[in-house]
């Protein structure tokens, strides 16, 4: 479906929503749409990224198919959202990675793992690689700390730059003219992100699988997000240990990086499996089939990173450690490389959308 067709469909359905308004208790999309009666491109892109795809407005819709108005808000907005990911990818030439994610992600992951495994096979003498290693600095006997930083840092740096540029472009398109950014608004947006207020369906939960209410998707997303943040915290504390305290990995089982990483890895794996299972089981009607690859590939990538990390932890004192380390670092490399060209980008756009809502709310309540 060409870009403007997806926009036209989103506009058509949201105009019906604006004339109806029954769903305004489910999430912020509907009140926001009412404040944007012209529903121009920027409005629609904002609303699409504000939508958390909770589906209540589909199952509760008096105009959903087979009604001839064929209103399917979650699907229309999923399409517009997907188009906006492609449109804001930087550089534009790489947006194809997003569009063909189901192919790109596995290939890049395999490539990165193969690269790392190849590297250690070539560079590390077999008697070191396949020896059971223990004690401080064990990992660095396989790959030096500098090499790891280079392998992680370069792609991550690039990805941060690419995402930053995409977000800047997106912010310029969708921000509200004349409404000031305040710390209060930032606080409100952060709260909305952390509690996923828009995935509460106004209280009873969301129509995750069918027309019954559930809190499962919100909880799984929490597991995923918090697992991700814990893993990130593990990396940061490990870096601090290394640099400030001069302690070398691997750290003992009861150390902060290992505890954080283990818990994070377990939560991420559970989240990824659970969310993928929901995609599998959920009624496909209120979703856009063309976005499935993007969603599942990202869940797959997160799962890969989490599980290889956990495997490394479990078998780190065995002869398998060297290869497991290479495989884990390869997955992390692929993950970092794909950040700007994967479903990860939803985090930034959604955060901006929530921030814009918070800014507008602050402006309204000040009046």
């Amino acid at each position: 479906m060409p870009v403007d067709e997806s926009l036209a469909e989103s506009r058509r359905v949201l105009e019906i929503c604006n004339a109806c308004g029954y769903c305004n208790g489910f999430c912020d999309v509907f009140e926001s749409a009412e404040r944007r009666p012209t529903l121009n491109e920027a409005d629609l892109v904002h609303l699409a990224n504000l939508c958390h795809a909770c589906r209540n407005c589909f199952h509760g819709c008096q105009y959903a198919p087979p009604h001839p108005f064929l209103v399917n808000v979650p699907r229309s907005l999923a399409r517009t959202r997907y188009r906006s990911y492609l449109a804001h990818a930087w550089p534009a030439a790489l947006s194809g990675l997003l569009a063909r994610q189901a192919l790109a992600a596995p290939l890049i992951a395999l490539g990165a793992i193969a690269l790392l495994v190849g590297l250690v096979l070539v560079l590390v003498p077999p008697e070191v690689l396949f020896a059971s290693q223990a004690g401080a600095g064990a990992f660095y006997r396989i790959l030096s700390w500098e090499a790891m930083v280079l392998l992680g840092g370069l792609p991550l740096g690039w990805s941060v730059l690419a995402i930053g540029l995409s977000l800047r472009q997106y912010w310029r398109l969708t921000r509200t003219e004349g409404a000031p950014l305040s710390t209060r608004a930032i606080g409100a947006a952060l709260r909305d992100i952390l509690v996923l207020r828009n995935l509460r369906g106004g209280g009873p939960g969301c129509n995750d699988l069918d027309d019954r209410f559930s809190h499962a998707r919100r909880r799984l997303h929490h597991a995923m997000l918090h697992g991700f943040l814990l893993s990130f915290a593990a990396t940061v504390t490990a870096t601090l240990y290394h640099h400030l305290l001069g302690w070398e990995a691997p750290y003992p089982l009861l150390s902060a990086p290992v505890l954080l990483g283990t818990l994070g890895g377990i939560l991420m794996s559970l989240g990824a499996v659970g969310l993928a299972w929901m995609k599998w089981r959920a009624d496909p009607e209120p979703s856009a089939p063309e976005t499935r690859g993007l969603d599942l590939a990202f869940l797959g990538l997160l799962f890969l990173v989490a599980v290889t990390g956990l495997a490394l932890l479990v078998w780190r004192e065995t002869a398998a450690m060297g290869l497991l380390l290479a495989i884990h670092l390869g997955s992390v490399l692929a993950f970092f490389l794909l950040l700007p060209y994967s479903k990860f980008v939803h985090a930034g756009y959604r955060a901006i959308a929530l921030l814009i809502e918070a800014i507008e709310h602050a402006a309204v309540s000040r009046q």
Partner: protein
Amino acid sequence: MTEPDVLVIGGGTAALCAAISARRLGASVLLAEQAPKGLRGGNTRHSRNLRIRHESLTPLSSGPYPEEEFWSDLWHATGGTSDPTLARILVQRSAEATDWLANAGVPLQPTSSGVLPPSRKTAFLLGGGTTMLNALYATAKRLGVEIRYGGEVRDPRIANGRLERLLYQDAGTARTLAPRAAVACCGGGQANRDWLRAHWGETADGFINRGTPFASGEILEALLRQGARAVGDPKRAYLVAVDARSPADDGGIVTRIRCMPEGIVVDANGRRFRDEGGDTASTRYAIWGQRLADCPGQIAYLILDARGRRAAPPSLYPPIAAETIERLAARLGIDPGSLAATLAGYNAATRAPDAGADEADWRTFDLDPPKSRQARPLIEPPFAAYPMRPGITFTYHGVAVDAQTRVRLRDGGVIENLFAAGMIMAPNLMGRGYLSGLALTIGVVFGRIAGEEAARHAGG
């Protein structure tokens, strides 16, 4: 399909409340809904709020709504047409409605959501009637109610004050049922064109049915034919102004046109016929329904200028627009000279309010009919028009019931095992007029009573 203790005919609010209540008392229940699953739930699909008595402040409304106030609202709105016994039951038991629904899994929207119009007298369904129906169907299914979609019930046979049998039919089955008790919750006959034509003549051809096409009135008609006592008046209907371009059925809430005070309303001859500023209460768009029915061809046009269009609420279809009033008239098929003359006469008669007075106090001077409020001149092009027709919501025609909702007979007495709830018996409570949220409350309150009574009858 087994022969149930209780057959519930219909699939909207009243039917679900009856089925759940009967099942909870232990009866085996079959619910036959004529519509396919995707369009289940009758007019309830399109609804949003219900009227409830509450003696103190609740999270669902902005202030108390005590019994006597509800009673007097009902009395005034319906011109005293309510059966006093049933009306007292309605008002009193409406207080239980939201708790009962919440207990059956229905989410309600608290005022703290901050996005509801202020309402002291009604509570809002989160997501509206379709969301409520999803919850009620799930609860009914969980309790073991057998639910049949695409299942039409017809040909009820009444003899000796008893319902003896009925015919059930769906795509694969046609069989006679003889349940111990039945509850008719199948709404009115507002979707039945032949039936409307029989009462309204050609006027009915200009109507748009706002709600379900499955309100065929089959059961209602059959019961009346076999001696059930009628209430209300088949020639009366709850009509509201809807966009004339709406589909013939099921356009629901988005088709209504509400912003008459922003412009002028002309008939097919381009002439004004009513004070567009006269009614500003929330019922204003309902008043226009009957007026449209009285127009030639049952059509009229709300004419706005660019300012009025900006003030108008969002609509299903954009208005028909043109740079000049003559061109707009041509697009509407109205004589351009006539519409231009009407507009010029109106504009010349408008008077600004005194300095410092309410902006809405624009009024016309020496114009017939007058426009008594918001009579701003329509001068800013482009001009726009909403074509409007009467949209039928329900008819004020049903079967009389007693306090246990048993259907009453014309010659006295009741049909001992046939109960009725919802719109099919609502004219017992309102022979005319309307209060927002009343229809759903009637469905919940009497659906529950009917279900329980039917289960008791079946068990005893």
